[in-house]
């Protein structure tokens, strides 16, 4: 007979769909983003199949354009942005700060409903005929020339945007107001520092996207002409507004991953994170400076050269805090007791792939080189190293790490390690050739291409098939473990955080008594013994 927990409290469907328990909302989110991940992945699979040959053979250009648009829209707004914050974050934020729930539990549920509604509208746009603008919705193509369901898709993203604003708002207020006694800012786990920084971006950047998309929709059906050169509008204004959101949004899609990795590296090295304050503040620095760099997407767009110089300079600056994090993670491993459980494998893969993604980001920040490789496969490879190599890897790492807490079951370690390794190789095989394609001058969003590029495309497609299998594996063994896995103890990893000092899965109200925090996070003895934060 197990104690009652948030999963067994009430099993009716109603209790799930009207829950205000952050843990249940997190599970709802996890289920929905998994669905979107595989929809976006299906689109990617067809794209990679098509690109195996230079000619058009599987789909028409119109279908191809719809496929990469859907892949982008779904993966960015319906998987990456909610991935770590809305699932892992939602689950562990109150647990990590010793609270009974988020500050606004009903708002949290509302945010999930908005997400589902936005996703539904977007999927409807897909099945009603699709959208062919690319995820960037560039005007005046999106406003005047596209013959696809732009308004519907934009509406879906607009609604989902409010869902992320509400999540961000909830996290910010919760972290400010609901911390357990003794939990000062410098005692917060680094995951919370990065989620806090992420939330700042969510709250301050997303509304600008909302306004931009609204203007696109109005331009399209009400002809307001704000982005229409024929009416005196300026297409570059769209780009400014769009990237004011979308560049910081890139940090929404990586900061939470950095937070997860900070947790993982420390736990599996049995050591405190090296340079805690530097890692913490570098998250904040990325969030703030990340707002000063958006124009590096516009170096060849007709923006003034002066603006190009400013944005290039700031882009180099924003890379510094990321470098600081990488150095500190590596230093954390120094003289630790390193264990190679699956989450740690993901964390190590993250550091490697993120570093490659980050360094190639410097190529793109560098003005004269960006002129050459922007809008080529170099960019595609670069941001997949950050988003997939970085964020998705971190998501899987975090998912495995907190899996025992979420489900009360252990995942099968052997399969998990195999999947981690397979993902790492499949990923590199898929995306490394794309760097070379970019350096050879292959433009992105090309349905047909000159034959000399084929050999690298074939390699990339081959890698993608490995990656597809590797991403399916966790679905099976994690699903299996939910019912047949070994029961998890409350603290299987001997970690220090508050979330491990309550049973797995936690009871509905998280803690029997509010914990009192007495220690820094990551307090390990010289022998690697964990000293929980409330001990």
């Amino acid at each position: 007979m197990t104690a009652r927990n948030y999963l067994t409290e009430d099993n009716s469907l109603r209790s799930w769909f009207f829950t205000t328990d952050h843990k249940r909302v997190a599970v709802l989110y996890a289920a929905s983003i998994t669905l979107f991940f595989f929809i976006g992945g299906a689109a990617a699979t067809i794209i990679r199949l098509e690109l195996a040959t230079p000619q058009a053979d599987l789909v028409t250009s119109d279908v191809y354009n719809r496929l990469f648009t859907i892949h982008g829209v779904i993966m960015v707004w319906f998987f990456l942005i909610p991935s770590i914050p809305a699932t892992l974050g939602n689950f562990v934020v109150p647990l990590m700060i010793g609270a009974r729930d988020l500050a606004f539990p009903r708002l949290n549920l509302t945010s999930w409903y908005l997400f589902v509604l936005g996703g539904g509208v977007t999927l409807y746009a897909v099945f009603a005929g699709g959208i062919d603008t690319g995820w960037t919705f560039y005007a005046p193509f999106s406003t005047m020339y596209s013959n696809s369901h732009v308004v519907l898709a934009v509406t879906g993203v607009f609604i989902a945007g409010f869902s992320s604003i509400l999540t961000g708002l909830n996290f910010i207020v919760t972290i400010h107001r609901l911390r357990a006694p003794g939990l000062t800012w410098y005692r917060l786990p680094l995951f919370l520092w990065s989620l806090y920084s992420t939330s700042v971006i969510l709250v301050l950047a997303t509304p600008v996207l909302a306004m931009t998309l609204l203007l696109v929709a109005l331009d399209r059906f009400a002809g307001i002409g704000i982005f229409d050169p024929a009416r005196g509008g300026d297409p570059l204004l769209f780009q400014h507004l769009f990237w004011f959101y979308s560049h910081p949004a890139v940090y929404i899609m990586i900061l939470p991953g950095m937070g997860v990795v900070s947790e993982l590296i420390s736990v599996y090295s049995r050591k405190a994170v090296f340079g805690y304050k530097f890692v913490a503040w570098s998250a904040v620095a990325i969030a703030v400076v990340g707002f000063f760099v958006w124009g590096h997407h516009m170096f060849v767009s007709g923006q003034s050269p002066f603006a190009g110089l400013v944005f290039s300079f700031m882009s180099f600056i924003v890379a510094v805090p990321s470098a600081i994090k990488v150095f500190n993670w590596t230093a954390t491993m120094h003289k630790g007791f390193i264990r190679f459980d699956a989450p740690m494998l993901y964390a190590l893969a993250f550091i490697g792939l993120f570093t490659i993604g980050g360094l190639t980001g410097l190529f793109l920040a560098c003005l004269a080189y960006d002129v050459y490789v922007t809008d080529t496969y170099f960019v595609v490879a670069h941001f997949h190293y950050i988003m997939v190599g970085g964020m998705v890897t971190a998501y899987f790492g975090g998912l495995h790490y907190w899996w025992p807490k979420i489900t009360g079951r252990m995942y099968p370690e052997y399969w998990a390690r195999a999947a981690a390794i397979l993902i790492f190789f499949g990923f590199n095989m898929t995306f490394f050739p794309q760097f070379i394609l970019g350096i050879l001058g292959m433009p992105r969003r090309y349905h047909v291409y000159p034959p000399e590029f084929q050999v690298w495309h074939v390699m990339s497609s081959a890698g993608a098939s490995i990656l597809a299998v590797a991403y399916l594996l966790p679905l099976f063994y994690l699903g299996w473990s939910m019912f047949f896995g070994k029961r998890a103890p409350s603290n299987p990893w001997q970690a220090t955080g508050l979330e491990w000092q309550t049973p797995s899965p936690p009871p509905s109200h998280n803690f029997a008594t509010t914990p009192v925090v007495k220690r820094n996070p990551y307090d390990y003895s010289l022998e690697g013994e964990a000293r929980p934060q409330n001990a």
Binding site: F291, P305, F311
Partner: protein
């Protein structure tokens, strides 16, 4: 505060706001050239500060509340600064 009477500071702010409204409309009809825009925006800022400080009780708010209130405007300034840097130098 007695029953049925508004608190003094609210009443004074309200009258001040209406006065500023009158002034800004009057000023907009004076031929000041480019300064017209500056005056209009300065008065708008003044009115907003009154609303924020008195009606929204920022005057008594904690430092954290004031930071939160200012944050939106700081980020707005980033957006205007960098976007206009492009437009002014084209």
């Amino acid at each position: 505060m007695k029953n049925g009477q508004p608190p003094r500071e609210l009443l004074v702010s309200w009258l001040g706001l209406l006065a500023l409204l009158g002034i800004t409309v009057f000023a907009s009809y004076q031929p000041l050239g480019a300064a017209n825009t500056g005056v209009a925006l300065a008065i708008a800022l003044g009115k907003s500060l009154i609303v924020a400080a008195i009606f929204m009780e920022l005057r008594r708010g904690s430092a954290l509340t004031i930071v939160f209130a200012a944050t939106g405007f700081f980020w707005l300034a980033i957006m205007f600064w960098l976007a206009l840097a492009d437009y002014m130098s084209r």
